[in-house]
Structures are given as structure tokens and as C-alpha cells.
Assembly symmetry: C3
Homo-oligomer: 251 residues x 3
């Protein structure tokens, strides 16, 4: 199986699928091609939330504002998974979710046909090659070289403050739910009551529909972190929050 992730929209991913289908008969599954354009951090976050649910696979990721520069192409081995993509940090957080120990390799691509579409000309062929040989062979592939020098990406960690914590908004999802890095356990024992979010009392609830339609709530999302939401509405609007904004939760 090869999963595909990008900020391409349509139809660029189709060229990648064609390239892969000519090279191997891997099953193809789209993770998303709607990641915000050139937003490495948001893509990296969503990969941590999706790739661990897959069986062993090669994950081809192209959110790549540096395409055509001298940035490296990477193949990351993470247990039985491999990740292929640009050396800008996008692969690392998910790789660490997939396996405790990850190995990072550069992929030689001097022969790329374009300088603007490495998804088609570098990463799709690399993903197909890794798929064909199997993840165990990655260290031995002709075009891979182990490296300790790569761009890493770590999500910021919230600061505990007594029973509460102060963190920030990591991403906003398509529903407008505001996903923070504040650990969900700060809401433990508080469901059904209110907690203080950035100074306001907000109902802590397990379900969006536990408040009236249009009302705000704070919950623990499927990622395990504190999430700020509105029942059938947009939490980002109602809380006036966007990515990077500070979020303090006090019990």
C-alpha cells in the first residue's frame, strides 16, 4: 500500500498515481490533497493523526515549498512503515508516532524531469521503488544514504500550570474545530461542568451536541488534546482563534 498526501488539490496527484501505477501495483489510498498550501506544520500534524491507523505502508508526502532547490529528498524508515517526501520536517512527527526508532535516508534524484513537480518526478518514483523492494530493504537501496542531518519538526508542548495548562492552537480542522496542544487530561473530572478557557467559562463536554446548537464547548478531540468547538458551528470563529494563538485552560 502507498498512501498519498499533498497540498496539490487536483489534478496533480493523478500524475503521481499514474507514475506509481506504471511502476508497481501497489494499492493507493489518498490521505489528503487538501492540506493548506505550503503549510508543512499543518500537514505534519495531520499525518500524525492518520498514518498510525494504517497497516504497514509507504507514505508519500508532498508539501514542498522548497521544490527545485537543493533541499534533499528523504526516505524515513519507521518500523514497518516508510515515509517519502521532502527534507522539511513534514515526515518526522508522523514517523515518530509510527515507531519509536526512525532511520532517515536521503534519496538521490539528479535525474528529475522537472524542478517544479517532484511529486511526479521524484517522490512518486521513490515511493514505488521502496514499495517494490519492501521497507526492510530501504537501507540497501542504491539511491538511499543514511543521514543524521535533516530538518526536524517538533510541535510545541503546552506548559502545565497546576491543574491547568497553557499551550497554543496547532491546527483548525474543516469543521472549524480548534485543535490545541493542551493535553486532554486537564479536563479530567470536569465534564458536565465549566472550565476557564482564555479567561472565559466554557462548558466542558464529551460531545459537541451536549450543548445547544451554536453554543461553545471545550472537549477532548480524537487526537487526545483539548479542542474548542461550537455545536454545529465553527469554533475558530466563536473563540477568535487561529493557528499559533495561545490557549490557556484553567480548571
Amino acid at each position: 500500500m502507498i498512501t498519498l498526501s499533498s497540498d496539490f488539490g487536483a489534478p496533480y496527484p493523478a500524475a503521481m498515481k499514474g507514475v506509481i501505477a506504471r511502476a508497481c501495483d501497489a494499492r493507493l489510498v489518498d490521505v489528503s490533497h487538501e492540506f493548506p498550501r505550503q503549510d508543512v506544520s499543518t500537514a505534519a500534524f495531520w499525518l500524525t493523526q492518520t498514518l498510525p491507523y494504517f497497516p504497514p505502508a509507504v507514505h508519500c508526502v508532498v508539501v514542498d515549498p522548497g521544490v527545485g532547490t537543493d533541499r534533499d529528498a528523504l526516505v524515513v524508515r519507521a518500523g514497518e512503515h516508510a515515509l517519502v517526501g521532502p527534507d522539511n520536517g513534514v515526515l518526522l512527527p508522523a514517523a515518530r508516532e509510527l515507531a519509536g526508532d526512525v532511520e532517515v535516508f536521503t534519496w538521490a534524484y539528479e535525474d528529475a524531469a522537472s524542478t517544479t513537480f517532484h511529486g511526479r518526478d521524484v517522490f512518486a518514483p521513490a515511493a514505488a521503488a521502496v514499495h517494490e523492494t519492501g521497507v526492510d530493504a530501504v537501507p540497501d537501496l542504491d539511491r538511499t544514504t543514511a543521514t543524521d542531518e535533516f530538518v526536524d519538526l517538533q510541535f510545541p508542548v503546552a506548559d502545565r500550570d497546576g491543574d491547568g495548562a497553557t499551550g497554543e492552537v496547532l491546527v483548525v480542522d474543516g469543521f472549524g474545530n480548534v485543535i490545541t496542544n493542551v493535553p486532554g487530561d486537564v479536563l479530567a473530572g470536569r465534564f458536565g461542568e465549566s472550565v476557564t478557557v482564555n479567561g472565559d467559562a466554557v462548558p466542558a463536554r464529551r460531545a459537541y451536541a451536549a450543548v445547544e446548537v451554536g453554543e461553545r464547548l471545550v472537549t477532548v478531540g480524537s487526537h487526545g488534546n483539548v479542542e474548542l468547538a461550537v455545536n454545529q458551528g465553527r469554533g475558530d470563529d466563536a473563540f477568535s482563534l487561529e493557528v499559533g494563538d495561545a490557549v490557556g485552560v484553567a480548571r
Copy 2:
């Protein structure tokens, strides 16, 4: 085969696909992940228009504003098909299109990992389980219990009025075509002429391009109902209609 339908956009469906791919090797086909958010009725309509074209399959549907509340999870057996989704009516109209006789079961899910993403934690595993055992086994699955108490959803029926009818807008598609519940037969014998729609004379035509670009027409859509459209334009704008608005057609 498992089909997937939701209002999730991307990338949440990818986590569902991963869960399913770990559980079984069912072929996965997306119906849509772009249903209007929390709009159970619109999703239910589109399922009636798409699922009957599929071979026997398990249809996993997640338009679920009540996620995390005590609403049930359902498995509906409809002939050789099964539908899996929340107990809010979204499954029933399509199920009745798929088979004259449907059986409804609840699916026990006390062990859900989240209260906000039952697509991943309840419905995807349920769909995989039903797929693995086969639809015939649904009544015998440990986690299913037959029930007569479920939320139903029936689309409103137009009122016949002589040769005409008065109904309402069921949905607007992505082209802006206004899909009503007025039976298409009210236009029988009238193609090439005009009929009266909400008081205005509108050309009845079989093809959008049978009127000039930008002009209004009334036709019978692929669903068999009266549809209000504009050739290469948006019918909803040109007719000033939205979901639920009344539509009267007189010959």
C-alpha cells in the same frame, strides 16, 4: 466493497480507511466526503441517488451531529447491502431504495476510543466487521441487536394538483441545479414548450444546452424529479430557491 460517505472533507476519512485496511482487504470507494456538514437530510438524499448503482457492498455513512451522545450506532441490512452509520435517519431512505425489506440493528460500541470521531472508532470498525462476516451474518453478529426503534427520515412528497404539482426543493447540487420532489412526469408531453414554475413561464427541455447559455430551464434530472437549472449557470441563483422552498409546477 465498502463505500464511504461523510461530511468530513479531508483528512479524517483517511483514518477511517486506515482502520478498515488494517481489519480487512475490502475495496474502498468514496461516495462523498463533501456532504454539507451536519446536514443529515441532504446526505440521505444523495445516498438514495448513488448507493443503488453499486454492487452489493457495505456502506459506511458518517454524517453525525450527535456523535458522542447516547444516540445509537446502526447496521441496516437491505438485501445484499448493509449500511452502517448513526441513528439519525441518514441510512433509511437509501436502504429502502436498495431493498423492499430492511432490517435495522443497533451496534454496541461501549469501547469507542473517542467521543468526537466515531467514524474512526465505531463505524469504520463496524463496517469492516460486517464486510468480513458478510451481510447475511449481520443478524448473528455479537454486537448487533435487532430494533424497531430508530430515527426514520422520509422525504416530503409533492402534492398533485391536476396535471401539475406543488412540492419543495430537496437539495441543490454543485452545479446549482435545484432538485425538487416534484415528479418528473408533470413535464411529460411538454418538452419543447413552457410550463409555469412558481408563476413564471419556463422552457421545459430535456437538455441544459437546449436553451441559450445563461437561460433558465426546467427539466427532469437523473433522479427522475423536476429540476430547475440554468444552461452553464446556477439554477439556485436564477430561481432564487434554496432547500425547503416551495416549488409549484403547472402545465
Copy 3:
């Protein structure tokens, strides 16, 4: 393999997939369902950029403003590929990219169930039928008739003017990159310097990120033509260009 292309968005393609899945077990790959609505030329361009990367396949294309009129349905044989779609030119440019010699057939469809959704009722069944018999059998299929009378579509060709050229904008991609018909070789030997684009000096660069974020550049895109872009921004806005606008490049 059957690829699917349309301007349908969701969920109409799902009905096509169901129809095909009932008729055969072809692998299905989406090229795009987000082509601009009723825009035959843009779809034709993107098909030239994607279909040649696929292994031999049947390509089912539905951008079809004339649906329901007497326009023909076509099956085009292009080497080991076949293309199925309406007779409006959308298939021809890609067919010529796929094979030097193309054969065009009409597909009889008197039995179409609708006049508004031939993707479901004509082209999906035709694609499945062609897939099942194989491309070599196309000339012998009961429903095909060879024809020399079909709508063709040729992209405009830029005029060479010394070392430069004057052409036009063919499409704008989802990033806002402005794709022209000016051959990329007009930038040969000029990377790292500036060239004149519609009277303005613009840096010629191989990579978007070779200029500062938000700055304009001119490059050769993955299609081999001159492309006007902004690093992490929208070239169409920065150059005030849209499809059909003239673009002159002087060295």
C-alpha cells in the same frame, strides 16, 4: 484500469463508480472531478498533463455541457489507451499525447436512462464495456462506428519572435501558477537572470523558492512551458492574468 475525470465535484462520480463496479472489476483512479464546470479546454489541457503518465487504461472523461443534446459520444483509441467521453474536443489533445495515431469512434447510446447524467448512463457503461473487451477490440464493438467527423480541439501555439515568444495563458492551476503556451526553451540560459514578461523584468528561476516569499518569478513548469508564479503566493493575482490573456516573453 479505468480513470475518471469530470467537472462533477461530489457525489455524482460515485454513481459512475457504482455502475462500473457492477459491470467489471477494473481498478478505478480519479484524475479529477474538480475541473472548472463546463470548461472543455481546461479539462483537455489537464488530461494532456496526466493521462500520459498512466499505464494503458480506459479514460472516462465527462466535461459535457452538451449532455442530452444530439452531440455524439466518442470512444477514441490511442495506442494501448482508450478514451471515452462526449464529442466536444475534450478527448483529442490527450489522445494525441498518448499515441501518434488515434482512431475515433462514435458510441451508440439510444438507451440512455437520463438526458442530464450521461456520465452515469452512457460514459460509465461504455468505459466498462471497452475495458472488458480490451482496447484492441474497440473497432469491432457493436456500438462503435469509426468516424472522421468529430469536434477537435487544438491549443493555440505561441508565436516565436527572435529569442522570445508571444503566447497566451492556457490554464491557472490551484496554486495560482499561470501556465502559458510559451515554450520553456525561451528561458534557456537565462536562469539566474531576468527576462521581460509583458514588459516587466521578472527573475527567471528554476525553483519557486529561488525568490523571496511573495516575490514573482518566471519558470518552466512540469508541462515544459513558461509558467508565471509567486513563491508561496498566487501568480495569477500578481501578474493580473487569466486564461486567454496574452503573454509575451523577451530575453
